[in-house]
């Protein structure tokens, strides 16, 4: 099955480009560390999911590029094409000239309706190119105006036009100390709207990735490109083909569907966090060795203690006593309760890995059977030069604190009515804001009471 990617706004387009780069460079690499047959199967599966063939032989990304100003898309198209290894279709992008001015209302209420037809036509064309459509993957930032506002509108349109397709929104959360002053308003408006039409929100926080770049990758002068490349690596580690749990017959054919099924049992809980280890500077890789038990142990503790990266993990945090039913108010502080988890393992000796520690019922809420709450996907094919790579996609309290922080700051600003006139100018009223705040407070409350 194929996935159609929709890249929205500057951030969405910049990241989307790095994702296709990472996917392509991974399948081209000779570092698979597995049998030739396995490698070929992997290669074909990835190509089917993300690329389509052209007469020239250069793989064409299954993507629609949308932005309200031309510079980023123009750059993205030309840099991709100049790589010689893959490119975007020359007819899959939509641009305007004036941007959205960091104004969610402008993106949602003005650009959205105005350009709906043109954008959905492009999406339809891409969807038709797929033998079997596996769903949509949208990439956007929630801080600005286009990715956030137009992105929310487009997601709604996708839902309306493709009611039975899966929609996964990849949302970038901005740095806490401003990239955009009204970023908290834009974020609240985006998240509350996406919650209605999306199947799941996969979140990356700029602050977290920045720390990974600084402390794990040892990059001195970190650029947005560095940040985007780490994000692309993490996304690749989830999206590249894997064998479905329990089966070794061929690669999974429905990645988005499988993801939703394992991780989103209830529509009230759609926030997914992502962790990937190990992560380090490329030139350190040849000098490092990892053991699966070590990686699994770290990943599990990162889950329990809500650690954002592999450094500074708090080993003091422990799950509550197994077997005892503890009311959520008495759960040990800082313990991250999960609804469902998915671990993805890639590389050498992956079949031998013991994941029992992730099946511990005390990690989870009581609603699902532990067997259903935890899933694992594996492939012996190594990813992106990492001999062993372990990813965790988690529907848990991972994002509770950051979400609460954003809502708090937005509320604080809203109480003073600052900037509201900029939104009402384009049709988003105070009541609309209140509705969005209510939706998100509900989500926060739900996750808090796990």
């Amino acid at each position: 099955m194929s996935i159609v990617t929709v890249q929205l706004g500057q951030c969405g387009n910049q990241i989307g480009h790095e994702v296709f780069n990472a996917l392509c460079s991974d399948i081209r690499g000779t570092h698979g560390l597995c049998s030739k047959k396995e490698n070929e199967s992997y290669h074909d599966s990835c190509k089917e999911r993300f690329f389509c063939e052209e007469e020239s032989g250069v793989p064409v990304a299954r993507a629609v590029l949308v932005d309200m100003e031309p510079k980023v898309i123009s750059q993205t198209l030309s840099v991709a094409a100049s790589s010689g290894h893959w490119k975007y279709s020359s007819h899959s992008h939509f641009c305007q000239k004036q941007g959205s001015g960091n104004n969610w209302a402008n993106g949602y209420s003005v650009h959205g309706p105005r350009h709906k037809e043109a954008i959905m036509n492009l999406v339809q064309k891409e969807a038709e190119k797929c033998d079997r459509l596996g769903g949509f993957f949208t990439i956007m930032s929630m801080a600005g105006g286009t990715g956030s506002g137009l992105g929310a509108f487009v997601t709604q349109c996708l839902r309306d036009a493709f009611p039975s397709s899966f929609i996964l929104n990849h949302v970038i959360w901005p740095y806490g100390t401003g990239e955009v002053i009204v970023q908290n308003y834009n974020s609240v408006l985006t998240l509350s709207h996406l919650y209605q039409s999306s199947d799941a929100l996969l979140v990356h926080e700029n602050d977290v990735i920045h720390k990974i770049c600084a402390q794990l990758m040892n990059i001195k002068q970190i650029s947005f490109r560095d940040v985007n490349q780490v994000i692309a690596h993490q996304l690749g580690s989830i999206f590249q083909p894997t064998h479905p749990a329990g089966g070794s017959s061929g690669y999974s054919r429905n990645p988005l569907g499988d993801l939703m099924e394992t991780l989103v049992p209830h529509p009230e809980f759609k926030m997914l966090g992502l962790r990937n280890i190990p992560q380090m500077a490329e030139n350190s890789l040849p000098y490092s060795t990892f053991s699966w038990p070590g990686l699994i142990k770290h990943l599990r503790q990162m889950l329990i203690a809500n650690a954002k990266m592999e450094e500074g993990i708090d080993w003091q945090v422990r799950p509550p006593h197994p077997g005892s039913s503890i009311p959520s108010t008495n759960k040990p502080l800082h313990f991250n309760t999960s609804i469902a988890n998915l671990v993805i393992l890639r590389g050498k000796d992956v079949h031998s890995v013991d994941l029992g520690s992730f099946r511990d019922p005390s990690l989870y809420t009581s609603w699902l059977n532990p067997q259903d709450a935890f899933n694992a996907w594996k492939t012996p094919r190594a990813f992106n030069k990492y001999e062993k790579s372990a990813s965790l996609v988690s529907n848990s309290q991972f994002l509770l604190k950051p979400l609460d922080s954003i809502v708090g700051k937005a509320w604080n600003m809203f109480a003073s009515k600052a900037y509201i006139h900029q939104y009402t100018k384009f049709g988003i009223q105070e009541e609309d804001f209140l509705d969005c705040f209510t939706t998100l407070e509900q989500v926060i409350s739900s996750y808090t009471n796990l």
């Binding site: 910049q14 510079k71 750059q75 941007g99 960091n102 100390t177 401003g178 600052a418």
Partner: protein
């Protein structure tokens, strides 16, 4: 997206002239292949002048003849004529000029009421023609001074006109405020009358004070002449310099100061013209820096003022650039933002600067700055890859800060000194359409604005009480 500058009055046109000259210089440095690109199109049309009077626009390909997208308005001919005889004469055509001969006599009412009425249709027609050539008009810039008659009076008339005719296009105004020693006696009247218009019809105002420009020019002269700088200064990097531009004549006294303003405008629009990892368009500036409609006065600072010839820039010098942006002597008005209250702050960085440099410096400088309680992290940032000519990196800081207040208070005081004695009032009141109420309304508008800033100042240092959140039934 196109930005359309209007230069109104003597000061406006002198600054405008420097602006076009430096814009050409900037684009020439970047555009090596002579191809007419998106970046150029925000300020210039590409015209094939061989096809006679019709001058069709050429949207792609080779550069033929660049024409500035602009309107030059002056009620005296001197300055505009000089431009048309100088090295920039081919950049403008007669359809972009509106001139008269006798000037406005330093009288806002003459500029606004008499010339405004007289030239309204002419201006609208030329405006529409110019706008027709733009496939996406995003922003108008008015460049003028506040203290005289044309720039102040006719300039604010044009502002009104722009709002009526093109309500959706942003209106940025770069206003040069008169100093206390200004030789135009009635400059307080002109300025306050103009302020009312700015309060009501501008989206963003960038106030500039001559004293600040003068101090910066002096500072640079001193640095160069004292020999304190070990290496030589790159001439074309001076924020005051015309080096490398078309202007080959002896620099006039105001040229250095006007170059600073021209550089301000170039930096302001750089991220809209050139690519970068975090673009900042002009509509984003208005969106992020104007929390309440009337509080739209932005204090600007430009750093560095010059670069040394040595190419290697250690990060310490980079950090110094950020520190300087907040220092008193880099502001373009007489103000000290560090000791007043920030409502919002924008940092537009150009050149080889990455997000980590930006974050490091924000973290470093934040503790010494006071932000309003509901905007504790009120930073808007932009990263443009292309540095200004002669620099490897630069920073433009725009602050919505209560430190503008003293400028307005002084203006009000100077106004009241004259007004109480009814000095020179008759020159204004004898103009058709002018009444005493124009003055009382204007000073009232200014007083209200000052009051709003005072109220904000009063909140500085107050203990912060976060409003309670919505409660959800579980």
């Amino acid at each position: 997206a196109v930005s359309l500058p209007f230069a109104v009055g003597q000061c406006g046109n002198q600054v405008g002239c420097r602006f076009w000259d430096l814009a050409l210089r900037e684009h020439a440095a970047v555009n090596k292949k002579g191809i007419y690109d998106e970046a150029l199109s925000s300020f210039f049309r590409n015209v094939d002048t061989r096809s006679g009077d019709n001058d069709p626009d050429i949207y792609k390909g080779k550069i033929y003849s660049l024409k500035a997208r602009a309107l030059l308005i002056d009620m005296e001919e001197g300055v505009v004529n000089e431009i048309l005889q100088g090295p920039l004469r081919d950049v403008f055509d007669s359809k972009q000029l509106i001139t008269d001969v006798s000037g406005s006599g330093n009288n806002w009412a003459v500029g606004h009421k008499i010339y405004g009425y007289q030239y309204r249709e002419n201006i609208v027609e030329k405006l529409r023609k110019t706008a027709e050539h733009c496939d996406c008009l995003q922003c108008f810039f008015i460049i003028h001074s506040m203290g005289g008659g044309t720039g102040s009076g006719l300039g604010t008339f044009v502002l009104n006109l722009l709002e009526e005719e093109f309500p959706e296009v942003y209106r940025f105004v770069t206003s040069v405020y008169p100093s206390g020693e200004d030789d135009v006696i009635t400059s307080p009247y002109n300025s306050v009358l103009a302020m009312k218009e700015l309060n009501e019809h501008a989206d963003c105002v960038l106030p500039i004070e001559n004293e600040s420009l003068f101090e910066i020019v002096n500072k640079i002269h001193q640095m160069i002449n004292s020999g304190k700088l070990g290496s030589t200064v790159k001439q074309n990097s001076l924020v005051t310099s015309s080096a490398g531009s078309a202007k080959t004549l002896q620099e006039k006294p105001f040229d250095a100061m006007n170059n600073i303003i021209a550089n301000l405008l170039l930096n302001l629009t750089s991220s809209a013209r050139f690519e970068g990892s975090l673009n900042m368009d002009l509509n984003e500036i208005s969106m992020n820096l104007v929390p309440f409609p009337r509080l739209h006065y932005l204090v600007s600072s430009l750093t560095p003022l010059y670069t040394l010839a040595d190419v290697n820039v250690p990060s310490r010098r980079l950090d110094q650039m950020f520190s300087d942006a907040f220092s008193r002597d880099h502001q373009l008005i007489q103000a000290d933002p560090k000791h007043s209250l920030y409502l919002a702050c924008a940092l537009l960085v150009r050149g080889n600067v990455q997000v980590s440099d930006l974050r490091r410096n924000i973290e470093r400088l934040k503790p010494s700055l006071h932000f309003v309680s509901w905007n504790q992290e009120g930073w808007k940032t932009g990263l443009c890859s292309v540095p200004p000519v002669g620099h490897s990196h630069s920073l433009l800081a725009l602050a919505n800060n209560t430190c503008v207040k003293p400028t307005f208070v002084e203006l009000k005081d100077r106004f009241m000194k004259l007004y109480k004695k009814k000095a020179h009032l008759h020159h204004y009141l004898q103009i058709d359409g002018m009444e005493q109420s124009c003055f009382s309304e204007a000073i009232s508008s200014l007083s209200d604005l000052i009051e709003e800033y005072s109220e904000l100042d009063a909140t500085k240092g107050e203990p912060r009480i976060d409003p309670s959140r919505l409660k959800i039934a579980v």
